[in-house]
Subunit: 347 residues, 2 copies
Amino acid sequence: MNTKVFEKPFQDSKYDEQQAFENKTNVENEAKVLNTHFQPSQLLKANTISQKTAFDLLVYLSQQQTLVEAALEQSISVVYPEKIYESMRYSLLAGGKRLRPILCIASCELCGGTVQMAMPTACALEMFHTASLIHDDLPAMDNDDYRRGKLTNHKVYGEDTAILAGDGLLAYAFKFVVERTKKVPVERLLQVVDQLSYAIGAGGLVGGQIVDLASEKLHNIDLETLNFIHRHKTGVLLQASVVSGAILAGANEQAVQLLSRYAHNIGLAFQIIDDVLDITATTEELGKTAGKDLLVQKATYPSLLGIEESKHRAQKLIDEAKAELAFFGEKAVPLMAIADHIIARTH
Amino acid sequence: MNTKVFEKPFQDSKYDEQQAFENKTNVENEAKVLNTHFQPSQLLKANTISQKTAFDLLVYLSQQQTLVEAALEQSISVVYPEKIYESMRYSLLAGGKRLRPILCIASCELCGGTVQMAMPTACALEMFHTASLIHDDLPAMDNDDYRRGKLTNHKVYGEDTAILAGDGLLAYAFKFVVERTKKVPVERLLQVVDQLSYAIGAGGLVGGQIVDLASEKLHNIDLETLNFIHRHKTGVLLQASVVSGAILAGANEQAVQLLSRYAHNIGLAFQIIDDVLDITATTEELGKTAGKDLLVQKATYPSLLGIEESKHRAQKLIDEAKAELAFFGEKAVPLMAIADHIIARTH
């Protein structure tokens, strides 16, 4: 994974390159163990070591991703009728950056919660995201054959199963949050269910996709519509990720608001950079067909604003996102680094 | 609506045909008012009048259906992007017996709860049911052009919108339960979310549909598989309807178990009768194409057991369902009558 190393010293200790290298190696070894069994105590130990010296985003993302993969791996068992569970697992475990789960966990920890409190919701966020990708890829929608470098769900299992796999993931995600979350008051869990159901419905993902589909037929949409699409297709679920994490930890209203605005800004910046990368990156780097937006004459930030202005706006959004985190002090280093990473990524 | 009048005297008062007629007229007039605004106080008044004399299922179903229609009518507003909300409303408000909401409300009242406590969940159940119908009707699934005598969602709005309308309804139903339910402890609400998410996922509707699709290609499935299909496609959501109502009212474990078995039995009986009606009823009576099962050589109860044996099994299931209700005494009259109605219906 290509990541930017965030080099700001953490907890006033001096940054030591050799020490950081050793920490990284230790953490990566631990991550291999964690790949088999989800053991939060080891994560906490790894975090403690890392934070004593400097924050290394490369290590952090890799470690969190490993934890999330392990939890996702165990989230769905294959029972009769096997085909539906296999197809749900196929797309859920097809890789990806796991940005939404990582944001949820980071936000929960920032507000005083634990990885364990956040993990079921983190997995649910990835289930929702995956469900929307499966449905978006269908022939009746974006008609994509590849996703994350692998055949899309309907190309492997057929359209009927793909539709049902999406529905199954949507349903199961709610069950997963309610049944698997431990040590969180029920009032908070109910707030999380509320946030999630909003984010994936017509006020979020579904609303964004419907405007996106309509816009593809128009070829001349304005910036306001483009913002609407991305705010709903991407922003709202990213916001729900961060806000859910904070709610699970019992954060107060002010903290939730700050984190919500942080997520809104990085969500839009993420999409602007996605559009830019569709032009500037290769198919190999993206894991999906590059240049597709240009080919279908799709309105994008670069097509409306140019590449340089798009990059400039993304940077401004990231700066604003980071400013929202000032309130939290040095504890917010992971979320700060993720914001920086969004603008620096190449795929 | 063609319904069977359940004539058993209620609360030991003598059945009076003239009085019942007047009650029915009063209730129907009140129902017209309720069609515009959902006013539970009027329902309670109507219920009281009715129960003082005799239980009339015709009146009861019509009245409950009117209440549910009014609540559904107000459940989804049309805002930008209008198309998605219009398509969600199109299918949600396309009529139907509203059996799931009515069962939920009846079960809640039976266990000491109120219509108000149950109504958001009742609406959510209809949203889930509608979502599954929209997706089942898609060309990639059952490829149906008509549903409830109207064009299916994708025939009106296109396949892409129909997929999203289903997703939108699934998501919104959870939000609706969480945000609109009043005067119910949060623990109970969380249990309801758990029940609902199970019923609509791979353990319920989705699992039933995937086996149904696979079976259509086989033409020689056994009774066990047929039972699996119907238990999951129909039974689990009917069970969730009745169980959710009981949970919302704070019913104890024994009551929930009895009601769960009641629902299981009427669910299977409902499906057996559905299969019988596909052969014996006309297209006009059904509001959907009759004889379609025979045409596609679909395995049904009559094709495996014959029409008479199918009817016999359905009657046995109904008798067993009613036996489960003995515990509740006369309060269970509405659920008793609904069980009888399932076997007597002609569409």
